[in-house]
């Protein structure tokens, strides 16, 4: 076998390549050897076939190329052995061409033998990414287009790489996003693939450096300098990511592919949302979102249009589904997709909420959070872990979405009487409680808190729940421990119970001293945790104050001049 392969390698003639095959193989070979050999195959096919040129294909891209042929690994091993690369230790042109021919044979169902390649075979098919789709050799008819397509595509890649340079990281390869630039002859469904590549790049790169797309703007110099060698590595990474991405894509409807958010993208968007706004069920204000999206370096009119598309209720703030839609549109735009005329159905907030129901978000969030949170989110980590524990108990985020309006819960109205009966200490905090209370009605530990009023600050709802246990704890020293029990099941009765705290307290304080002491200990721990939270939220409060001041200034400018 090896001897035959050696014979095949040593002398050109036994390996008969048609002209089309020679063109393709030389192009493929050129890709695998990098830019050294330039663009499409140069020189007459015979010359390229005859003697090994100085260029040898790098093993990495070649391996990826072979994997893209979707043949089983054993077959690929056989092919590698047969073509002689293992024997000579490198992939020269002859080895490469033999390997390609063997791949074609294997894909046609013929056994992997040297004899197979003697006969006429269709071209090998490589399921690759968009850039390589041009050299997808389904039939020779495409061949004539490929030669012209490839240089075009490479130049397009260059331009788009500059656009996408924020996705580039040192260790990752740049995404290849040029669906618009794709020549019309390319199969349409490949257009959807690059978007996911971009996303996978985005995600993989950002998981390594978390806010990288919006913070680390890689200088265009290195990126353009790398572009010469990029294409082959490009393909390799794309092929890898492609194989990763193919699975989820196959499950979704193709027509909406560019506008469909995959699970990984969803997680990334949600994490970004949380970095801006800890509460996933509240929303991001316009100015915060503007600062964030401006980092994407899209033009202001485009950002304005994206906002217009995604802010469905035109309230100047983005809820989580709106934010995901906006983010998705931005990523799509950065990857070269034109912005749609209207919000695609897969990006509608209702669709997003239905597709990714909230409780699942929370669980997925927590899981993904604990697994994949990158290093530079450590500051958030601490707070988040603390909040997680509270969240788990409270389980209030699920309901807060419904509460962002002026929902007045029956429990809260039932809580109106208690405040006057309480000691004066909680009174200063009642105004805060007013806004917070409506956000977690189920938080029955806070059931003794004051009732609500219209939410003062919608973007700091989270400040409220942590502080509630503190205040409750203060009062609990006067009250019975049963008021402290996080009896989530006791909704109504708890509120009723708190109406008469004092008479109950005097009777039970003597009975439940021990229980009180253990509860005090627990509450002290919670207190420490919440004190930390408090400080963080105070900062948030300051930021919100500043926002408010800015808004008021704006309003002043717009306010009509009273003196006419």
């Amino acid at each position: 076998m090896e001897a035959a392969a050696g014979a095949g390698c040593g002398s050109g003639p036994p390996l008969l390549l048609s002209e089309g095959e020679q063109q393709c193989y030389s192009e493929l070979f050129a890709r695998c050897t990098g830019a050294a050999s330039g663009g499409p195959g140069s020189g007459p096919p015979e010359a390229s076939r005859a003697a090994p040129s100085a260029a040898t294909a790098a093993a990495g891209p070649v391996a990826d190329l072979f994997r893209a042929s979707q043949l089983p690994a054993e077959t690929l091993h056989q092919i590698t052995e047969l073509c002689g690369a293992k024997r000579v230790g490198y992939f020269g042109p002859t080895q490469f061409y033999i390997a390609l021919k063997l791949i074609a044979a294997a894909q046609s169902g013929l056994p992997v033998r040297i004899e197979s390649i003697k006969c006429e075979l269709p071209l090998p098919r490589f399921m690759m990414s968009k850039t390589d789709s041009d050299i997808r050799f389904g039939n020779s008819a495409e061949l004539h287009g490929t030669k012209t397509q490839i240089p075009y595509l490479i130049s397009e890649k260059n331009t788009f790489k500059r656009m996408d340079d924020e996705d580039k990281q040192q260790e990752t390869q740049s995404p290849t996003m040029s669906p618009l630039a794709s020549p019309p002859s390319s199969p349409p469904h490949y257009q959807r693939v690059p978007l996911s590549h971009g996303y996978s790049k985005l995600r993989s790169s950002t998981e390594q450096m978390h806010p990288a797309p919006y913070e680390a703007r890689q200088p265009e110099g290195p990126s353009s300098g790398n572009q010469g060698t990029k294409p082959p590595r490009h393909q390799a990474s794309l092929i890898r990511s492609f194989s990763v991405e193919r699975e989820p894509q196959d499950n979704s409807n193709y027509p909406d592919e560019p506008w469909r958010i995959t699970e990984e993208q969803r997680e990334y968007y949600v994490n970004q949302f949380r970095s801006l706004q800890p509460d996933p069920s509240s929303f991001i204000s316009g100015s915060v979102a503007k600062n964030f999206f401006t980092k994407s370096k899209l033009s202001i009119p485009e950002l304005s249009y994206i906002w217009e598309l995604s802010d469905a209720d035109c309230d100047g703030a983005l809820t989580l589904p709106e934010f995901c839609a906006a983010f998705h549109l931005i990523v799509a735009r950065k990857n070269g997709y034109p912005l749609p005329e209207g919000l695609p159905p897969t990006l509608q907030p209702e669709y997003l909420q239905a597709a990714f129901p909230k409780p699942k978000w929370e669980c997925a969030l927590f899981d993904s959070y604990s697994e994949s949170m990158p290093a530079n989110q450590q500051p958030h980590d601490l707070n988040r872990m603390e909040k997680l524990s509270i969240k788990d108990v409270a389980d209030f985020p699920v309901s807060t979405e419904d509460m962002t309006g002026d929902d007045k819960q029956a429990t809260k109205s039932g809580l109106l009487p208690p405040p006057p009966a309480l000691p004066p200490r909680p009174c200063p905090s009642q105004s805060e409680q007013a806004s917070e209370a409506e956000l977690h009605p189920q938080l029955n530990r806070a059931s003794s808190q004051a009732a609500e009023s219209s939410p003062t600050k919608k973007d700091t709802p989270y400040s409220q729940p942590p502080s509630k246990p503190i205040r409750r704890k203060l009062r609990s020293e006067n009250q019975a421990t049963e008021n402290q029990e996080p009896s989530t099941t006791v909704g109504g009765p708890a509120s009723v119970a708190t109406v008469k705290p004092h008479p109950i307290v005097q009777k039970q304080s003597s009975k439940q001293k021990k229980a009180i002491q253990t509860a005090i200990r627990k509450n002290k721990e919670a207190n420490a945790v919440l004190a930390r939270l408090n400080s963080e939220l105070q900062q948030q409060l300051k930021e919100v104050h500043q926002e408010r001041i800015a808004l008021e200034n704006q309003l002043e400018q717009l306010r009509p001049v009273t003196v006419l």
Binding site: G286, L303, E308, D311, C314, D315
Partner: protein
């Protein structure tokens, strides 16, 4: 159905002006410009003591032989001016009011966009489509 719709900022420069693309569009621009004086006059006449109660809809500003010009001012002194074909007698006052209301709503939506700086020209596509729906369909 309006022939020309304009949004004028507080400082009396146009934020958005669009007319049916026929003949001499500059004429519409001129009409809108001259109507600003009338708007100011109406505002000053009405709003001396009762700024809060001043009605937003100003009504017919002035008629010409071919066109009628209606005005509407917001609380932030942004003016909407609409030029309507005089031959379109079917248009009633209520319809004009509703058109202005739609304009105002779309305008507030534009303002809600954080990427829109007050004082910029309005380039929102939603606003454009809303205005298109209000304008005469000239084939």
């Amino acid at each position: 159905m309006a022939v020309c719709v304009a949004v004028i900022a507080k400082e009396n420069y146009p934020l958005y002006i669009r007319s049916v693309p026929t003949e001499n569009e500059l004429k519409f621009h001129y009409m809108v410009h001259t109507s600003l004086d009338v708007v100011d006059e109406k505002i000053s006449a009405m709003g001396k003591a009762l700024v809060d109660q001043r009605e937003l809809y100003l009504g017919l500003l002035y008629p010409t032989e071919d066109y009628k010009v209606y005005g509407y001012v917001t609380n932030s002194k942004v003016k909407f001016v609409m030029v309507v074909d005089s031959s379109n007698t079917a248009l009633r006052d209520n319809e004009i009011r509703s058109m202005f209301r739609k304009l105002h709503n779309s305008y507030t939506d534009v303002m809600c966009n954080p990427f829109y700086n007050p004082g910029d020209r309005i380039q929102s596509r939603a606003f454009d489509s809303m205005v298109t729906s209000m304008m005469i369909q000239v084939c």
